[in-house]
Symmetry: C2
Subunit: 343 residues, 2 copies
DNA sequence: TTGAAAGCGCTAACAT
DNA sequence: ATGTTAGCGCTTTCAA
């Protein structure tokens, strides 16, 4: 194993000089810096993580707590996790993967052992039982999601309320007056994860303002689930001319079922999705959508947490502004009630 | 911050005694052990990870390298990752999340910095460029997947060859003689990830032995993709009476399309899937399937790597035996060629 | 601009 | 059964 002392000897300088070359915390003459750097790659030196952590009380590790549950739309979680890992590396940090299993206890353990300099929590619930502990610990933390009480906490999330409003605005501008919302699975609403409720608030408020009639139905993300939901919507609101889908797993089934019912998109019905751009763009009909910016959320979370570790920046709530991209699934409202035709 | 010295002072013993109480590496009288343990929870002591790593040259961290790509079936990856994290914790290890982005370089960095005691690599390709480096480093490593050359390497994977054979056997026993395989997306085959090819080998060899006519088609996992593939199979082999699906994202579309074509499952056509049990069980028709045991793979990988860290066990290739569960999607072959009816 | 040296908190010989 | 002590490899004051 190559140590800093080895490098110092090889370069003919002291240990501290090597350390300072590495950290850049004091000025080094060009010649010695180059000599040291040459020794470093010649010997293939990597600083020992444990020693560094002990001496500096900084591990350069960020803990990421992901939910154990696998009933949510997993690809989004994964995309966030990967964005977190990638961005963290770009800032010189590694990522420790914690599952919800250990529960709030994990927070104590990480804090006590100084394993990580900061924490990022995904899938935060409105009254998350990890929050009190998080406030106690001195370590920086960022939540991906928005709990009810954000005191002393940093949060990053999409502004789902605005996202809901945006969908309605777009459809209203195209003349739609009867809109149905195909939502997340019932379990998601029951768990009070927040984002689903917030979207609904945005949808309802703006609908009300713009004179749009709105019907919301939770929906399992499978053909059978979407089929049942669609049938129900058809019965309850045969005049529906547009759908808003907030359930990534439901988009493909929805388009297939509409096709099957001989309903042309967007000529007969319009569809707006709230989902990752990639899902929207690669659907069988490219979907007009409000993006769930998974990568950006991960990136923001890391940047905020790194800023706090390094003493810059303070806790704040960042709500990313939703962006609606018009693709091929929305158009002017048809004159006749289309679902009635398609039955 | 509470240190081991604090605990020792509080309990009225020496530092080493506290250390040994924690590690169990030498016998301690019941009375002092209890006294120390009381001090530990009274003070809320957690050993400092950096100091421990430095002194013992063991970080108690396992690095998990996940692919950056997100085109594979993500839920399986996520399930493996979570199983790895959970199992690791049960053995006293934490998991460091590395993405493929850093490339083989990451292996050098982890090795050099002693950040992790071992590595687990997911999504291994047949001629993976990380393997040479992995063999160089002394650290234990386990691959999830099976490369061409397994010299000096530990591997865990499902025995996909046997899985393919099992599917064919099941269908042949039910009288099917014309079977179509709906495979992974073309990109998966092009990347030479191995498992897809191995399945195919098993399918073909056993088909040949049992006199089954087999047609294999790669397939995108979307409604449109499956629809196109199905149409093509229909043209090329109208006598097909059974499908084998190895593409989790294709199962739901396939069932929907068959339903749409008025083909009853299993009366008109049988369907066998190679996918996680949960996917199979919760499909609109519960699918007879060979399970991809994601959790078990993650668990095995950790247990193998932990054994090697701790000096027990050696490198070995573990191929998990496939298990076929009969559900409701397979039955005796229909007499008349069913696809011809369904067109 | 550089060096010397004192820890950081823990483990594991070596003693007793 | 327990205590004493010498490091582990690095950072960072304090000196020059």
């Amino acid at each position: 194993m190559v140590t800093l002392a080895d490098v110092a000897r090889h370069a003919g300088v002291s240990a501290s000089t090597v350390s300072y070359v590495l950290s850049g915390k004091r000025s080094i003459s060009l010649t010695t810096r180059e000599r040291v750097e040459r020794s470093i790659d010649h010997l293939g030196y990597h600083p020992n993580a444990g020693a560094r952590a002990l001496a500096s009380s900084r591990s350069n590790i960020i803990a990421l707590m992901v939910p154990l549950r696998t009933d949510m739309y997993v690809p989004v979680m994964m995309e966030i996790a990967i964005a977190v890992a990638t961005t963290a590396r770009a800032h010189g940090y590694d990522v420790l993967l914690l599952t919800g299993e250990e529960g709030p206890e994990a927070i104590r353990r990480i804090e006590g052992s100084a394993l990580a300099d900061a924490m990022i929590l995904m899938d935060v619930e409105l009254h998350d039982n990890r929050l009190p502990l998080l406030r106690e610990t001195g370590r920086p933390a960022v939540l991906i999601g928005l709990p009810t009480d954000t005191t002393d906490l940093s949060c990053v999330d999409l502004d789902f309320t605005a996202a809901g409003a945006l969908c309605v605005e777009h459809l209203a501008a195209l003349g739609h007056r009867e809109v149905a919302v195909i939502g997340e699975a019932p379990a998601v609403y029951e768990r009070h994860t927040g984002f689903a409720e917030r979207t609904l608030t945005g949808l309802r408020d703006r609908s009300h303002q713009l004179g749009v009639r709105l019907l919301h139905r939770p929906c399992e993300g499978s053909y059978a689930g979407v089929s049942a939901t669609l049938a129900r919507i058809h019965e309850e609101r045969p005049g529906t001319t547009a759908f808003i889908v907030q359930n990534e797993a439901a988009t493909d089934p929805l388009l297939a079922l509409l096709h099957q019912r001989r309903l042309a998109v967007p000529e007969d019905v319009s569809v707006v999705a709230i989902c990752p751009d990639q899902v929207a763009a690669s659907a069988s009909v490219p979907l007009t959508s409000v993006a769930v910016p998974a990568q950006e959320m991960g990136r923001h979370a890391v940047e905020q947490v790194v800023a706090r570790i390094e003493g810059r920046g303070v806790g704040e709530v960042v709500l990313l502004e939703p962006v609606l991209t018009v693709r091929e699934s929305t158009g002017r409202s048809a004159v006749a009630p289309p679902l009635a035709l398609g039955g």
